[in-house]
C-alpha cells in the first residue's frame, strides 16, 4: 500500500469491522440463489446414486469424465490461495496482505469442493472410507504404489494444513473484532478469539509458528498438484504419459486460482466497501502473476504438441491430432484461446489496471482452465490405442447439475465466510503501515 492516502490503524479496524456488518438484500438474494442451485445439485446426486454412474454418461472407454475434471479444476483453484498466503509471505511481498485472506478462504473452500468429487465419482460411494489405511477385519491395506492413494494423502494433508493456516491467521483479527462489537456477536467472537490479547508472549510464538506453517505450506502446494498430475502421468494413456505434467499442472493450477481470486475480489471490494484496501495495484500485481503462469501454461501446450510429434509414437501423434481436429476440437481451441492467447493481453498495463477488464478476463481464464482438464481427461480417454475401443462421450444433465451444484457449494461457504469473518486481514494490513511515532527519527 504505497498510496498517499494510507489508512491509519483505527481506520483499518473500523473499515474491516464495518465490512462485516449487516449485509443488504442483494446478499440474501444471492445466498438464496446459490442454495437453490446447491439443492438442485444434491437432487442430481441422489438421482445418480439411485440409478448408477451411467446417468453421468459413463461408458467405456471414458470412465473418468466431468467429475474428475471438476476435481482437478477445484484443486487447482485452491493453489493460488497458498501461493499468495504462504509463498508470497516468505518473499515478504507487501501487496499480498490485502488480498491473502480472500485467497486463503478460497483455498479451503475449493479443497472442500474438490474433495467431494472423488466420492461423487465412486459407484459405491458408501465404501469411500476404504481409501484410508485402517486396521480391518479383511486384514487388507491400501495400495501405496497407486497415485490415487497418494492423492488421498496429498488432498487430506492440504485440506488440514490450509484450514489450520487460515484459522491461525484469523485469530488476531477475530480478537480485534471482538473488542469492537457487542452483544451476542461479541460473545461469539470472544469464543473464536481463543483468549487472544496480543501479548508479547503470544506474538513471539505466533510469528514463529506462522513462519513455519508458511514454510511447510510452500512445498505442500507444489506437491499437491504434482500428485494430482501423476494420477494421469503414471498411467500409459496417450496424452497423459508425460514427464511435463507436474510443472504443467502446478502452473495451470496457480493460473486458474489467480483468475478465481480476481473473480471473487471484484464484487467483494465494492459490496463490502473495501475499495481503499483492494485497488488497482493489487489487480496489476495479480495480472502480472496471471501473465507469468499463463505463459508457462501456453509454453506447456507447445511442448506437449512438440513432444507428441518428436516422440515418433503414432499413438501420441494421433491423440494430439485428435485433440485439435477431432470430435472435441471446440474444447481444445477454447482452452488454447482462453489460456494461452488471452493471457498475453496482460502485457498491457492498461488492461492489468482496469478492474472490469480483469474481471472479464478472469471469467474467460476460469472457463479455459476448466476445459483444459476436460480436454486432458475426456479426449485422451476417448481416443486411446485400439480404434474399436474408441467412443464419444457427452456429458449429461446430471454432470452439469452436479458441476453447477459444486460452484454453489463453494459460493455458499464463501458468502457465509465473507459475512462473518474479515475478508481483509486487518492485522496484516496494519503490519505494513508503520506504527505511529512521537519522534520522526528512526532507529
Amino acid at each position: 500500500m504505497t498510496t498517499a492516502t494510507q489508512p491509519t490503524y483505527s481506520e483499518v479496524t473500523r473499515d474491516v469491522v464495518a465490512s462485516m456488518g449487516r449485509p443488504g438484500r442483494g446478499y440474501y438474494i444471492l445466498l438464496g440463489f446459490v442454495l437453490f442451485v446447491l439443492a438442485a445439485g444434491g437432487v442430481a446426486f441422489l438421482y445418480q446414486i439411485r440409478y448408477g454412474l451411467g446417468m453421468a454418461g459413463y461408458q467405456p472407454p471414458v470412465m473418468w469424465a466431468v467429475y474428475i475434471t471438476d476435481f482437478v479444476f477445484w484443486v487447482g483453484i485452491a493453489h493460488c490461495g497458498t501461493l499468495i498466503s504462504a509463498i508470497l509471505y516468505l518473499f515478504r511481498s507487501a501487496w499480498r496482505t490485502a488480498v491473502y485472506r480472500t485467497a486463503e478462504a478460497m483455498t479451503v473452500f475449493a479443497v472442500m469442493t474438490a474433495g467431494l468429487f472423488p466420492v461423487i465419482h465412486l459407484g459405491r460411494l458408501w465404501y469411500a472410507y476404504w481409501l484410508f489405511p485402517y486396521p480391518n477385519q479383511r486384514q487388507l491395506w491400501p495400495n501405496f504404489k497407486s497415485p490415487l492413494l497418494w492423492d488421498v494423502f496429498a488432498i487430506s494433508t492440504y485440506f488440514t494444513v490450509s484450514t489450520v493456516f487460515l484459522i491461525v491467521g484469523l485469530v488476531p483479527d477475530v480478537a480485534a473484532v471482538r473488542d469492537k462489537v457487542t452483544g451476542f456477536r461479541g460473545k461469539i467472537y470472544k469464543l473464536f478469539a481463543l483468549n487472544w490479547r496480543g501479548t508479547d508472549s503470544q506474538w513471539r510464538h505466533y510469528t514463529k509458528a506462522y513462519l513455519f506453517l508458511a514454510a511447510l505450506a510452500t512445498p505442500l502446494v507444489l506437491s499437491v498438484h504434482s500428485v494430482v498430475s501423476w494420477d494421469f502421468a503414471v498411467s500409459i494413456v496417450p496424452g497423459w504419459h508425460t514427464t511435463i505434467f507436474a510443472p504443467y499442472f502446478v502452473a495451470g493450477a496457480i493460473y486458474s486460482g489467480l483468475a478465481m481470486v480476481v473473480t471473487l475480489l471484484v464484487p467483494l471490494r465494492t459490496t463490502l466497501g473495501l475499495e481503499r484496501y483492494v485497488h488497482e495495484e493489487h489487480f496489476d500485481n495479480l495480472g502480472k502473476l496471471l501473465l507469468l503462469t499463463g505463459s508457462i501454461v501456453g509454453y506447456a501446450y507447445l511442448v506437449e504438441y512438440f513432444i507428441a510429434w518428436y516422440s515418433g509414437s503414432p499413438y501420441e501423434r494421433e491423440s494430439f491430432y485428435f485433440r485439435a481436429f477431432g470430435d472435441y476440437w471446440w474444447a481444445t481451441w477454447t482452452m488454447i484461446i482462453c489460456n494461452a492467447f488471452l493471457s498475453q493481453l496482460l502485457w498491457f498495463p492498461k488492461i492489468r489496471r482496469s478492474i472490469p477488464m480483469m474481471f472479464v478476463l478472469s471469467l474467460f481464464i476460469n472457463l479455459g482452465m476448466w476445459f483444459e482438464r476436460y480436454v486432458i481427461i475426456v479426449i485422451s480417454l476417448s481416443h486411446e490405442y485400439e480404434p474399436f475401443a474408441m467412443d464419444h462421450y457427452t456429458p449429461t444433465w446430471v454432470d452439469w447439475t452436479i458441476t453447477a451444484g459444486s460452484f454453489a457449494w463453494f459460493f455458499t461457504w464463501f458468502l457465509l465466510f465473507a459475512r462473518n469473518f474479515p475478508t481483509v486481514s486487518l492485522t496484516e494490513v496494519k503490519e505494513i503501515i508503520p506504527m505511529q511515532r512521537k519522534t520522526t527519527a528512526h532507529k
Binding site: 494444513v161 514463529k208 496494519k430
Partner: protein
C-alpha cells in the same frame, strides 16, 4: 475487574514511547510485565528481548515423526499383507516417498500448532487488558506491590503514556 496480580496498566499511542518505557522498566529491574500490541512489532520485540520461540523444535520433531511414520506405515502394511502390484518390489521406496513427504508436512504443521497452543497457554497470565490494544494502542502491564506503584507510574508516564491506571 478484580484480577491478580494487581499492578499498573499504561497505554501508549506511539511505538517509540512504548519501547522506551519497556527499556526503562528492564533497566529498573522489572520482570514479568506484559506488553500488548495490535500487530507484531520488531522495535517492541527488540526492547523486550525474548529468546527465540521454542515452537521451532515442535515443527522439527513433528516433521521428523511424520516422515518416519510415512515410511513405517507404507513398508509395514506392504509386508503385512503382501500383494505384488505391477511386478514391483513389495517395499518400493520411490512411491512411498510421496506418502512420507505428505505426512512430514501434515505432522510438522499439526505439531507447530500444538507447540503454539502449548507455549501460549503455559505463559498465559490473567493480566488486565485494554481493548484499544487490538486497535491502534500499545499497552504495558507491570505487576507491582502497592509501595512501588508511584515510581512505576511516574516512569511509565514520563515515557509518554496516554493513560496510566491502577488495575
Amino acid at each position: 475487574m478484580s484480577v491478580t496480580p494487581s499492578g499498573i496498566l499504561a497505554v501508549y499511542k506511539h511505538v517509540d514511547s512504548a519501547s522506551h518505557a519497556i527499556r526503562q522498566l528492564k533497566e529498573a529491574g522489572y520482570k514479568g510485565f506484559t506488553v500488548y500490541t495490535p500487530v507484531p512489532n520488531h522495535e517492541i520485540a527488540a526492547a523486550i528481548g525474548h529468546p527465540t520461540s521454542p515452537v521451532r523444535l515442535w515443527t522439527l520433531l513433528g516433521g521428523l515423526f511424520g516422515c518416519f511414520s510415512g515410511f513405517a506405515i507404507t513398508f509395514w502394511m506392504s509386508y503385512d499383507y503382501p500383494v505384488v502390484v505391477g511386478g514391483k518390489p513389495l517395499g518400493s521406496v520411490p512411491p512411498y516417498i510421496v506418502i512420507a513427504f505428505e505426512m512430514t508436512i501434515l505432522f510438522g504443521g499439526l505439531a507447530t500448532i500444538m507447540g503454539l497452543l502449548f507455549h501460549t497457554w503455559r505463559e498465559a497470565k490473567q493480566t488486565p487488558y485494554d481493548p484499544r490494544c487490538s486497535d491502534d494502542h500499545i499497552g504495558i502491564f507491570v505487576p507491582c506491590p502497592v509501595e512501588r506503584r508511584p515510581s512505576v507510574e511516574q516512569a511509565l508516564k514520563t515515557a509518554g503514556a496516554v493513560e496510566v491506571r491502577v488495575e
